[in-house]
Symmetry: C2
Subunit: 337 residues, 2 copies
């Protein structure tokens, strides 16, 4: 039996395109003792993957040219030579973009199939949800009545950040890139949402949306939105630096107003982070998010593209703002669903 994989064909300069991806078909080798054959069900495409397409040190090693791209994948065990992972088990792992993968049991986490939709373990109950949980609650620590600004608010992380901030009693202001996203976020309970693509003066719009200043800023985007937020910071503000998607495709080092004088005079805390910084506390996060989900206090939106060959387009769409909530690609149905 054959399986297709998607390889990094070459490193992008600036905005990536379909030219960076190459499909390759190979025969699946027979299983050795201890191995399982995984059928890919869902593939996660995420903005951070753009960084891995570059050469050079970042928080995770780069993808190699000529090798499969990898990331968060949910897969089903369809053949097993490993007693700990019987056929029918659904697992979450960091796996290649392949239709089928042969793996041992290392780094595979079996998922419950009787509760939340399994795809949520790539979203609300996975990396994006945990990113929101720890960034907001450990770094920003919003108090009731404070003002929280979230950039990239309609993304997988941003939608959760905003709802968590509302649970904590904060006023929540988001930025997003379409009127549909604005309407969706308002329905989620955001107090104000700014369409950064159509608003002529973002700084003025933010100032009007934050009449009491900004206490917390959860930043997924960077650039002009951050510049405007920095001018509104209250004393002892907290900034969770989660993403900088506005710069990921930059071909030159981005320049802008220096933030330090503004962070200094407000005694602001700014903390960069990646969700793996909190790996030891993941169970706490999953537990809390599951609880709020069950209680109806959290909603979660997914944009699900269908078909293995659509993975590159789904990834490229992230930089055009095509998704609301979590962007996934569904590759196959779970056999027992």
């Amino acid at each position: 039996m054959n399986s297709r994989s998607i390889l990094l064909a070459n490193r992008p300069q600036g905005e990536p395109s379909a030219a960076q991806f190459r499909f390759e078909t190979a025969e699946i080798p027979p299983l050795q003792s201890g191995e399982v054959l995984l059928k890919t069900l869902y593939v996660s495409v995420d903005p951070y993957m753009r960084g891995r397409m570059n050469e050079g040190k970042s928080y995770i090693p780069p993808f190699e040219v000529g090798e499969p791209i990898s990331g968060g994948v949910i897969a089903e065990v369809v053949d097993s030579q490993n007693d700990s992972l019987p056929k029918g088990t659904v697992v979450l792992g960091n796996l290649p973009w392949s239709e089928y993968t042969v793996s041992n049991d290392k780094g595979l986490n079996p998922l419950p199939t009787d509760g939340a939709p399994i795809s949520y373990f790539l979203g609300l109950l996975g990396m994006p949800g945990l990113t929101a949980y720890f960034g907001l609650l450990d770094i920003c620590r919003p108090k009731a009545g404070e003002t929280v600004v979230v950039s990239g608010a309609a993304g997988a992380v941003g939608t959760v950040v905003g709802q968590l901030a509302k649970i904590k009693g904060a006023r929540v202001v988001g930025t997003a890139g379409s009127d549909d996203k604005v309407a969706y976020l308002q329905q989620l309970g955001f107090d104000a949402v700014i369409n950064y693509k159509t608003t002529p003066d973002i700084a003025q719009a933010l100032a009007e949306a934050c009449p009491d200043g900004v206490d917390c800023y959860f930043d997924n985007v960077g650039g002009a939105i951050s510049d405007a937020v920095y001018d509104l910071l209250n004393k002892h503000a907290r900034i969770a630096l989660c993403g900088q998607i506005s710069h990921y495709n930059a071909t030159q080092e981005p320049q802008g107003p220096r933030p330090e004088p503004k962070l200094l005079k407000t005694s602001t805390l700014l903390k960069g982070f990646i969700v793996s910084d909190y790996a030891e506390r993941f169970p706490e996060g999953v537990q809390a998010l599951s609880q709020w989900l069950q209680e109806g206090k959290l909603q979660f939106e997914e944009t699900i593209t269908e078909g293995f060959d659509q993975i590159p387009q789904a990834f490229l769409g992230l930089f055009k703002g095509e998704n609301t909530g979590k962007q996934l690609v569904k590759v196959a149905d779970y056999s027992r669903s």
Copy 2:
């Protein structure tokens, strides 16, 4: 009896000059019940005062045009209608730049005159020493073997930061603006010092001085030095943002490379602060600094200019890097010294 005061004549545009200061002579009014007459002994001039010469919100209210400039002053009670502050008491307070001041007892802290030189309460045991203590030990938290970079290392704050980092077992790299300062810091135990005025490539010099990267950065200066440090940050670095003297005289918003992508990929913490954020812990800081001073683990340098009429020049010299350690102006001798 008459007393001279120094008033803010007008607000500076860019670098301040003697034109911003006006001397005024007035008769000292008779003391009312509860009041004391203070003779100024030492006046502190500090970079942060530049910010108070501007209009607009910062962490402390601006000086008013036509009113005396004020700041940290050590004075002697030379006449008293207040039993709690008898004649001969030496006090520290936030007081006007005047030869004599009539005050009640509010905000005046009596100083011991039998230990460290009283001028140290404007330096090592005062605002600059406490700034170094809390910024380094609460924000940067250097561990033995880590690398600490200090910009403005030869100033009142920087000299203490470097010595405290050495006490904690760190490798200490400083930047300073003259060969004399470099030699002085080497004598204090700094492992490497870069003369930023004569070094052609600061980024390369810093990289060579920090072969294991930078774990902690105590920033008094900002600008090009910070840009170079940001490129050397290790994972989980900590930055205490204490001052930005390179920008204080800017007439336009300073621009530069955006630091956020670098802070993000290293999970760096950056925290702006002002010493008053730690007001509740001042006794702890004074106690610890006094102890290290007594044990011979801390040295402290003062640049003392003499004469009330020299205050403006001493202040202006801060922005030309004329001082090593704490810049003070001695206005009068303590009658009992």
